[in-house]
Amino acid sequence: MAPLELLILKTLKAGPNHGFGITLHVQEASGGLLGVEEGSLYPALHRLEKDGALSAEWSTTQAGRRARLYRLTAAGHKRLAKAEDQWNTVSKGMAKLMRFA
């Protein structure tokens, strides 16, 4: 599980969003520490959509602009839960390893 997917799924758990919204949210929520590149974001979004973790549809944003909104599906929620577990395990392990070294 790539961290990028985790970021996407976590962002969308808060509610449906479009690609640009996701980049903004990741940046803001991480206090500017993390950023998502468009070149990786969109292929990842489309892959997740094809896998069934996301559904997408065209709609109008509050600002009145057409955008493709991505939404977590049931499978997406499960995937997110699993990804969080994995990430926690990995980060705990990493933290211990870093301290030891």
């Binding site: 479009h18 690609g19 640009f20 590149e37 468009e38 070149g39 969109y42 292929p43 489309h46 892959r47 094809k50 065209w58 600002a63 602009r65 057409r66 955008a67 493709r68």
Partner: protein, 802 residues
Amino acid sequence: MSWRDEMESHIAMRAEMNERAGMPPDEARRAAERAFGNRGLIGEEVRAVSMPIWLEQLGRDLRYAVRGLRRSPEFTIAAVAALTIGIGASTAVFSFVDRILFRPLPYANEKELVWFGMTAPIAGASEFVIEENYVAWRREGTPFAAITATSGGDDCSLSELDPVRLRCAAVDSNFLSLFGYRPIAGRDFNEEDTRDGAARVVLISHALWRDRFGGRDVNGQSIEIDSVRREIAGVLPKDFEMPQLTKIDVLMVLQIFGTKPPNSGSLLLTAFGRLKPEMTTDEVRARMEPLFQAALDTVPRGFRKEVKLAVHSLRDRQVRDSSRAAWLLLGAVGLLLLIAIANVANLLLARSLARRREMAVRAAIGAGRVRLVRQMFTECLTLAAAGGASGVLCAWALLWLFRVIAPAGILRLNDAAIDWRIAVFAVTVSMMAAILFGAAPALREPKPTRRRETLRPALVVSQIALALVLLCGAALLAQSLINMANAPLGMETGSVFTAYAQLPSARYPDPPSRAAFWRQVEERVAAAPGVQLLALSGSMPPEGRTESTIFSRITVEGRPQLSGQQTGGMVIVRRVTPPYFQILGIPMRKGRALADSDKNAVILSERLAARLKLTGQRIGFFAEPPRDVIGIAGDVRNAGLRLDPDPEMYTLTNREQRRMFFVVRGNPAAMPFVRAVFRELDPRLIVEVESLDARVSNMRVRPRFQSILLGGFAMAGLLLAAIGLYGVIALLTTQRTGEIGIRMALGATSRDIVAMITGQAGRWTAAGVGIGLCGAAASAKWIEGLLYGVTTSKQRCGTRSR
């Protein structure tokens, strides 16, 4: 809404944000675009997510394939042309032949249907059942589940205003039900209709119903056939087809079960049976044998030895006459398809060998073997698809052409449509050949050692051999056609025309009334402008349909009757008026010509005189007074397409026949006058006026059609083989450029080089011709039946084809 829109929306949002942060619009937009990155690359990745990988690669392979094919247009055009000819011809011919050989018959449970009867050499090729036997079998039962019969078709006239010549047949009352038909309007025949004194009812064909009655209700309507009014009982379904495949307009009831008037003779019927479900044709044949032996008692003694029982499944019997021609055509296009495939294979083989270096380079820079296979595969596929598409177009055009040049009466040509099964088959076969020969060699490891080429010469040799077989077949057919056209008719046909009519017995019941009518016509036609000479005759050569007698029944005065069980075949009897010989230019070999006073005289043809071994005696024949032989006339071709004439005798006509030909020598412009004479005297009579040349040439139309088709295929095959030979020689020569250079440097002249190359081509051609001649000899036996006056061991075939 696509990826492009999504991307655009993203960039626009960032640009808007940048603007809000204080950037000028232009810069905001540019910055947003920069931030997004390489749009084309990202787009490709996004699309790759949703597209299956094989499809994407297929698209790329296709582009490569088209590019590759376009790079060598000569190769592409040659290969596609070969495929077009092969696929087109085989598809068209199969579509047409399939209707004859393999189509489902329009009858219920057709496998149970059987055509049975007796055969005898003098009755020609058709089976018959004698009326009395049929009636007895119907009453007493047979091994069949049911039997039925018909009198066979005959000309009849719709003798109302606007008269038309129709085809009528009488059938037993169970005829339709046995074949599983039901009238679409009205009722079927029933037992009542066959009784004495029953009302005369008919069933009319769908076409007649449509043309004559406009498809209206026919209940209670009647129709006048040969001047007898008959009530219409019903209408036949559109797909109705007589089992003999003859065209039919009106079905009448066979009146054979009632009391027979004395001395009326016996009808010869065509009989069909339906097998009991568990029985086979062979079993039924065995069980019919005792009934047949008993029935032989009704056959005149002289015939018995020659009469045989014939029982065939309806399908086998129906296709008997056309199946040989159909199989021949099928064989011819099969050969053509093989040649085309060999040709394409050879082209591809040559190409792939030439591309070994390219393949090696590709493999070296990392293309996987699978990837290379796929690419070659795609290229072959593209080629086959192009060839297949143009092949189907070509088939469609050929079918149209067949229809235009085919003579009337070719079985079911008009409902032939492109058969997709065979189109797919042909495309598949050529594709497989393409892959086998095109892709496979390219994958072999490129070996530096020069191996002896064997495959390509083998392909060239087989192409030449196949083309030769085709060519020999076509040459034989053409030769037969030429023989037929050149064989002397024994008469002069130029500036002769005939008018033919048949008197309905209802309006001309007795011989004197017929003679009176014919005399009236004769007087007026003789006086018509442009008519130089006029004769009457009951029949016209070279058609076979004539009055005839049995040879063994002719007696010669002062000699014992030619006895024995043999019939000796048939002798044509032609009843004519004296100018007949002069008009047709038939020479008198001996004796004198016929005169109007020669009531008891007979003129023999040379052939008959030779068989009777006599020169000027009296001969007698059954039930008539003996006649004096006054002359011997030259032989005339009188057996249709057969080249050797039947024996023939001429007597003076008493003008009492129902059918009469008026034979006129004179200006063809007189034809309408002659027609007008008939119309004046009897407007309801149907008259056929035709030049004798046209009658003769009509007869040759079918063999000519066969020759044209086969000749066309042979030419196409030869062309393909020639292209193949050229292609391979050219390629091999190019490959040997270096070798040739060395040879020349060492002192070989250009003549030596040409000799070397042509020597090679010559050896291949010789091998192909040798093998082809063997094949041709083998296949020639097979087409013998379609030939007229050609012996098949034609050695000149070989020399001619070079």
